[in-house]
Subunit: 315 residues, 2 copies
């Protein structure tokens, strides 16, 4: 199903006077990519090769999905897109660092990512480790700029720092990565797979939504709705990935399908079958819609569109 098929459902069509979702996605992506290239202050005395190594991976593309969630959540509550920029850039730095470290020889040992040489293939292993460390550290600097440059109250920004540390750290993304490594040694059951999906991928999505909400001054009920929404689309996103690996169109995916099977990676279809996995994606997406619709948002439509877009992607 291509995501243009969604529009007849009505709920996902762009309202009058607003940019269509595809335009919005392209705009946010361009805007965040530009911000990332200026994220290290010019006057800082940083070794040139370190700047280049960080920049190489920051500019290696990708969907900028997490920044999109930050801005969409912020705007759904009437917040300004500008105020969301430092956090949108920060979450992309964290995502990028995690990819650099994941690709290392000691981890997945990948030579290419999105058709480009991985960081350590270009800059060497030591520099790739340090570029990842730098990006992770600098993400927290970027978060603080929401207060310094856009006047977001310190108490809100501090909660964003706390969330980022919790959801990117040992209880969050890194915990998910460790569980995934253990899973490759044959220890996985469905509960373990859910832990991996929730933390390795889901937590940064949940963080992005909560942060967008916090910037806009979300109340506890709205934050809880964003948390539910993020948990559900995060899991659905990963199940969709598992499904695409099994039955996707290789020309659209840009990689071979069936790689999970060949690598004997356990996936949702492996545990519950393809049909039930497809049904689970639908059910989670519906539940995500409901969470947002009941959340008391100024304008929930963009978040609903994004949920549909993610679940209907074919690559």
């Amino acid at each position: 199903m291509s995501h243009s098929e969604l529009e007849p459902s009505g709920r996902s069509a762009a309202p009058q006077g607003r940019e269509p979702l595809e335009q919005y996605i392209a705009d946010v992506s361009r805007w965040v990519t530009a911000a990332l290239s200026q994220s290290i202050p010019e006057q800082w005395d940083v070794p040139q090769v370190l700047r280049e190594s960080m920049e190489y991976s920051l500019q290696a593309g990708g969907k900028r999905l997490r920044p999109l969630l930050v801005t969409a959540a912020c705007e759904a509550l009437g917040g300004s897109r500008d105020a969301a920029l430092p956090v949108a850039a920060a979450i992309e730095m964290v995502h990028t660092y995690s990819l650099i470290h994941d690709d290392l020889p000691a981890m997945d040992n990948d030579d290419y990512r999105r058709g480009k040489l991985t960081n350590h293939k270009v800059f060497g292993e030591a520099m790739a480790i340090l570029a990842g460390d730098s990006l992770l550290t600098h993400a927290f600097y970027s978060v603080v700029q929401a207060s310094r440059k856009h006047g977001v109250p310190a108490e809100r920004v501090l909660s964003i720092v706390e969330d980022l540390a919790e959801m990117a750290g040992p209880r969050g993304m890194v915990g998910g990565q460790v569980a995934d490594m253990e899973g490759e040694q044959g220890m996985t059951d469905l509960q373990q797979l859910q832990y991996i999906h929730l933390h390795k991928t889901g937590d940064l999505m949940i963080f992005s939504l909560l942060a967008g909400g916090r910037i806009a001054g979300a109340d506890e009920g709205q934050l809880a709705a964003l948390h539910r929404f993020g948990t559900q689309i995060g899991l659905a996103f990963q199940i969709q990935d598992d499904i695409l690996d099994l039955v996707g169109d290789e020309s659209k995916l840009g990689k071979k399908t069936g790689s999970d099977l060949k690598q004997q990676k356990v996936t949702y279809p492996y545990f519950i079958g393809l049909e039930a996995s497809l049904a689970e994606v639908k059910q989670l997406t519906a539940a995500a819609h409901l969470a947002i619709l009941k959340g008391g948002f100024n304008d929930p439509s963009r978040l609903l569109e994004i949920a549909d877009y993610l679940m209907s992607r074919d690559h």
Copy 2:
């Protein structure tokens, strides 16, 4: 010169009614070490092997010098030692992560540190990378707890977050590490060596002092004095390291002297000679004293003691 020789100088003797410096160092070290072992909330669902890998390196000892600077700066301004604990623990996490990553095969490839196997020798390279990533991330969580648990105002804690990101990141410690790697390829002059010393080691010391000051509500003048003090003792500390490597007592150092020479590492004595290096340590220590004495502190004596202690250490 052993550091007990300092006491006749008068200025460094512990005032009546206060614990002597050695006792204070031992107390802070024990207290921070205990806090580190409880730094990850019990209720967090963290993979056991990740907990163990983080804990292994956190408990591997060391002088806990950076936490000492946090508490001493905080107390010099009349702040409470308790309020300084989350940041004292955080800076030790950052220091520990940097050691784990430095020891990796792609970096220094060390099998032992302080007589114990390095993290990757025990847990494997992938887990060591992830344990380092986790510690760095979790340090920011710990900083935020100064607000959550001790009521330090959000604005102050946010400045501590910003400082930590700046001084541990690309402009700070990681930048120094990269410059050090480049230096090993023969590109070093004295200015480059100062950059390495200032950033690789000095920045975390400066951060620790500023953070202690911020917790206690330091004004701009006091922060500037702490910054000067930190810059000077940080550089003196590293020159002293270079000197000890050349002429130290192997039995006290716990490692072979002359290793810098054998590794053809450039050092202060290499550039300016041993006598001038010793004089530089003395001059920097005196300047550090002066910065603090003119800084308007409630009780500068502990900071002065620590400056003398660091410069007179024989291991």
